[in-house]
């Protein structure tokens, strides 16, 4: 019973936390790119 719950919580955790981590990673990459665009546009002005 306890062993079953370990597998269940591992699966739920992998999916939920994995998706959350990917979302945060995407948002960080997007923010960094926006800052880079702003810097490059300033250089071109």
């Amino acid at each position: 019973m306890l062993r079953d719950l370990w597998f269940l919580w591992a699966a739920a955790g992998v999916v939920t936390l994995g998706t959350l981590a990917y979302t945060v990673l995407l948002w960080m990459r997007q923010t960094r790119l926006e800052q880079l665009v702003a810097r490059l546009e300033r250089e071109l002005e």
């Binding site: 079953d4 997007q30 923010t31 790119l33 926006e34 665009v37």
Partner: protein, 238 residues
């Protein structure tokens, strides 16, 4: 006026993302409650059946993401519009992430139920091949120079890689498989209480996919803009 517009463009647009992510977080909590607490345990598997409410939606979202990538790749080859290439690569990346999650959750279910983390079952094998095919897609993209060439070669590869998706879906019918066929063309093969939890899972993770695709697509367009600006800066300085 022009400066104001440029400033607004530069400002990170967090409002819409936070609103969508907040609403989606509430839906995910409801899904977790239904999957982990409210739904009934299964007669033979007990609580282990709850892993299905994560594993099946992940596999479903992965196949759907590859389908979107396939359509976008086909549209790029037809129209030669870089927006389609951005959509194809964005959806393929999310598909690869969800395939990874489906493989991990599948192994976590298989260990206590089948007594092994992995077997060379047709469904498992074709899914692993699919993972390698799309991992290859990203290796290929990374190795190609030139915007146009990278998009064209990736689109052709993306269309060919997708051929494995119907094979994954049909593998339990075509070959002798021990993998349960929970979702088929006849619907979901589960008792009503469990089918509701699975439907909720499918809808929730499809909504998560839609949000991720929006963010990833915008990121890809931004990345292309950076490439263009870098080229202009280089041209100006040389």
């Amino acid at each position: 006026m022009e400066k104001h517009r440029a400033d607004a463009r530069r400002r990170p647009r967090v409002g819409w993302f936070l609103a969508a992510a907040g609403a989606l977080a509430a839906v995910v909590w409801a899904d977790l409650y239904l999957a982990l607490i409210a739904s009934p345990p299964e007669e033979n598997m007990g609580d282990l059946v709850r892993i299905m409410y994560f594993h099946v939606p992940c596999a479903w979202v992965a196949l759907f993401a590859f389908f979107v990538s396939f359509i976008a790749a086909g549209m790029y080859l037809w129209r030669r519009n870089t927006g389609w290439d951005s959509l194809a690569v964005s959806s393929a990346e999310i598909g690869l992430c969800f395939t990874t999650l489906a493989l991990i959750t599948g192994a976590l279910w298989a260990r206590p139920v089948w007594g092994a983390w992995w077997t060379w079952d047709p469904r498992l094998t074709t899914t692993l091949i699919l993972w390698f095919l799309y991992a290859g897609y990203f290796l290929l993209r990374g190795s190609l120079d030139g915007r146009e060439r990278r998009a064209r070669v990736s689109a052709v590869y993306g269309v060919i890689a997708f051929l494995d998706v119907p094979v994954v879906h049909m593998s339990v019918t075509w070959w002798r498989s021990i993998h349960p066929a929970v979702v088929s063309s006849q619907g979901i093969h589960m008792p009503p209480g469990m089918a509701d939890a699975l439907w909720m899972g499918l809808c929730t993770w499809m909504a998560v996919y839609a949000l991720l695709l929006t963010v990833r697509y915008r990121m890809e367009r931004q990345r292309e803009r950076v490439e263009r600006l870098v080229a202009r800066v280089r041209a100006q300085t040389s």
